[in-house]
Symmetry: C2
Subunit: 337 residues, 2 copies
């Protein structure tokens, strides 16, 4: 009990061969009953724990998965991580967090970690198509894409219908009677932002409402970009009476700026977010927003990844998770109708 015990220590204690101990402990079911329990008891009393490095080397697996996001600092990913982690734990896997900060080199690095045995599979949420070179650092390791859509790739996808969700959000504002509705977008070359913008445009077009070019204000999902966008919007000759932002963080920025400008929310201007962060409900006034089932997305992505890793069937099409509109305190009918 001095050093951490090895298989051969158990073998010696019980009086069998190391191979038998290994079989007994990995549960291959090929060990007779009397020996089986004796081995288990000995392992327990010695406090045996299999050495993961040795096992990984022998089995060529790490029992770990990599979850790669573009910014760990964004609390948005927390709930997703919890979903991923819960599903992983149940299957005996650990989860490694990767943070690219939108740096292609970092992304390549994580593919390399996949190739060198750090992890057996990856859940990718960066929204970038890895270059062929990057991809080849881990040619045949399973990858599942979540949240984002990587066009033209054969990876399984788990995400929401960003376009429809955005459309519904804007339709809610239209339903309240708003006609001058602006949108603060996410970073634009990217799919998620583009789809939300599409949804906004569709809703406006369906309602026969005009979208002046200046009503599509560019943001980057961050709080500050919401403030800036709001300042630009409210200085227009014909400022909007409602603002739909592509993230809750930007909605907070917008509301902060409106408050600075002395415009009441939702009295003067309605604001609608997207994400439903954990603080959105506690915000004053509570934020109306689009709720994504984040934990479920994480869990689903991990479940599919597990299937891929074990050679099971994986869905051929993208898995679409349902969103729900959370109507709270920042949206109201316009006052100047």
């Amino acid at each position: 009990m001095e050093k951490t015990p090895r298989i051969k220590d158990i073998a010696a204690a019980v009086g069998v061969s190391p191979a038998t101990v290994s079989r007994a402990l990995t549960g291959t079911g090929l060990v007779a009953e009397p020996t089986l329990t004796r081995i288990r008891d000995a392992a327990a009393s010695l406090g045996y724990r299999p050495n993961v490095s040795a096992r990984n080397l022998r089995t060529q697996r790490s029992m770990a998965v990599l979850m790669v996001v573009r910014d760990v600092g964004n609390p948005f990913y927390l709930e997703i991580f919890k979903g991923v982690e819960a599903a992983a734990r149940e299957a005996g896997y650990s989860v490694l967090m990767g943070n690219t900060e939108d740096d292609p080199d970092r992304e390549a690095e994580y593919f390399e970690m996949l190739g060198d045995g750090h992890a057996d599979g990856m859940i990718l949420m960066t929204g970038k198509l890895p270059t062929r070179e990057t991809r080849e650092a881990a040619p045949d390791r399973p990858v599942v894409v979540a949240l984002e859509m990587i066009e033209g790739s054969s990876f399984p996808h788990v995400l929401i219908d960003n376009e429809a969700a955005a459309r519904e959000a804007v339709e809610h504002l239209i339903g309240l009677g708003h006609t001058r509705i602006a949108h603060v977008t996410g970073p634009i070359p990217e799919g998620m932002s583009k789809r939300r913008l599409q949804g906004y445009r569709q809703a406006m077009e369906n309602a026969g409402l005009a979208v002046p070019e200046e009503y599509e204000a560019r943001g980057d999902f961050g709080l500050k970009s919401g403030q800036d966008a709001c300042a630009r919007l409210m200085s227009l000759a014909s400022p909007p009476t409602a603002i739909f932002t592509a993230s809750d963080s930007m909605a907070f920025g917008v509301i902060g700026k409106l408050s600075d400008l002395g415009m009441a929310v939702p009295g003067k201007v309605s604001v609608m977010g997207f994400d439903d962060l954990f603080l959105s409900e506690a915000f004053q006034p509570p934020l109306s927003t689009v709720c994504q089932p984040r934990a479920d997305i994480g869990r689903e992505a991990m479940t599919i990844l597990l299937q891929k890793m074990t050679g099971g069937p994986v869905p051929a099409d993208a898995v679409i998770m349902p969103t729900t509109l959370q109507i709270r305190g920042t949206t109201a009918p316009p006052t100047t109708t």
Copy 2:
């Protein structure tokens, strides 16, 4: 280039022994110049990546550390994680996140992961003293405690002076002229909450102010407990004019409840939080709070852990990180003076 190349493939390509290749690639500096570059070139052109399982097995290290928190879902830990991760990356380590959810079994599990080679060291932020049995799952693996204080343990600690920080926060309220100041505590058997409570009491006592028993309202750091505590406080015969909460989340709950009750912040009641979450500044009104240098705490803890792992010197006493008072929009002089 079919399969991922191994050391012996490089050796064969260059015409040297595997041992030499290993030496060249690990940079032990014992390889002559002409061969050195030839090996490096060959490794690069073949796209060689060392197999981590084999290396870990041989070196008896995993080049990974475990960061264990009581609730990954709490965004508070994000900044700390970033600090830990940055320092770890620089030293070539990966970071595994562990989540105990206050379950002693889970905590024991992470100590076992430490013992079985999943990680070489651990940063513990759960505030619980591991039982001797738990601890023995990884007898001589380095552990650093952050945020919390585990009395009577010999682990290095990195944390803030909770007592002093709380005292300063309350002194700010006193300085504004408040006399009826209540405190919403964290979960109480725990050190961090107790120290903040002590700081509150000290400041009150130093100023000669009374602390009715009901002014110490019990919370659990969570948003909802802030709402509940606030409801109790404001229904007192002599309700407070200022409330100091032991976390920002609870401050948000308090403000929400005050808003429900029609009491303006800071017009009727001042509110002071503790943590400075990323949304606290964007909150309306912006939250006055105590700012902890979270990323620095993470970085410092990781730095000390690295020193312990490499056998370097570690600070004998707890490392105290500085806090700063963030006075923003939720604190003001009392109206009824």
